[in-house]
């Protein structure tokens, strides 16, 4: 079995704010991320799939197709958007890096023929990332 990872980038804005909490509580919990004017990041996404290498083609999956799936399911929805305001799953969930990784997993799960989605890694910046590997 070979693991194959494809990277993609998207740039988006977000903020962290829980309407159920007071302004002071939000600031205490989320610091400057609680500013409702939002702020942005260049995100890097790594999608890892696992599968057997086809003995004839030598591929686990066609990278070009994987790229197209990531583009269609994730990048076209997230890139140059405000995650809180423009992306449906973040109407109810805070767009933290953890939740973004989970949301991307849900968007890609069952969309990749011939290989098993193994890990979604989302870098909010080079020094910070979250991994989601499904609920095994």
């Amino acid at each position: 079995m070979v693991l194959l990872t494809r990277r993609a980038d998207f740039s988006a804005s977000h903020f962290y704010y829980d309407d159920a909490l007071s302004e002071a509580e939000n600031v205490r919990l989320f610091g400057k991320c609680a500013n409702r004017n939002g702020h942005g990041h260049n995100y890097t996404l790594e999608v890892t799939v696992a599968g057997a290498v086809d003995p004839v083609s030598g591929f686990v999956v066609d990278l070009k197709r994987l790229k197209e799936i990531i583009q269609r399911e994730v990048v076209s929805v997230y890139d140059h958007r405000h995650l809180n305001l423009d992306v449906p799953e973040f109407k109810t969930a805070m767009p933290t890096t953890e939740n973004i990784a989970i949301a991307i997993w849900r968007r890609l799960e069952n969309k990749i023929d011939g290989a098993k989605l193994t890990r979604v890694r989302v870098y909010e910046m080079p020094e910070l990332y979250a991994d989601y590997c499904g609920e095994a």
Partner: protein, 133 residues
Amino acid sequence: MKAYLGRRYRFSASHRLHSDAFNAQQNREIYGKCNNPHGHGHNYTLDVLLSGQVNGYGMVCDLAELDEFAQREVVQRFDVTNLNFDRAFENVVPTTENLCREIFRIFSTGFSAARLERIRVEETQNNFFEYME
């Protein structure tokens, strides 16, 4: 005490993805621009992950010995070559999946100073492959 040691190497090589099992049109459809008859190249990055008990010198294995093996068996063999002409790819398409498995085979059969955990080959900044057994 068990520890892991990761070491990175680089080599540049060309390849063409093409299988005689497919006709010309199928090859173009399956491999896209990688089927270009004249081939194309990449700067590959290889990550070797080893593990073992830390010895009396505080090491998983002798790094100089590892480097010497990797240079001789992998870097010198593949660097500035056309992978399609390598003996490993006479009957196997030199996809990076297959290159990853071949490098795993080279280390697992030839380097015994530490346990081979994983081989990772980065083909471009946007994709990489991992093989482990």
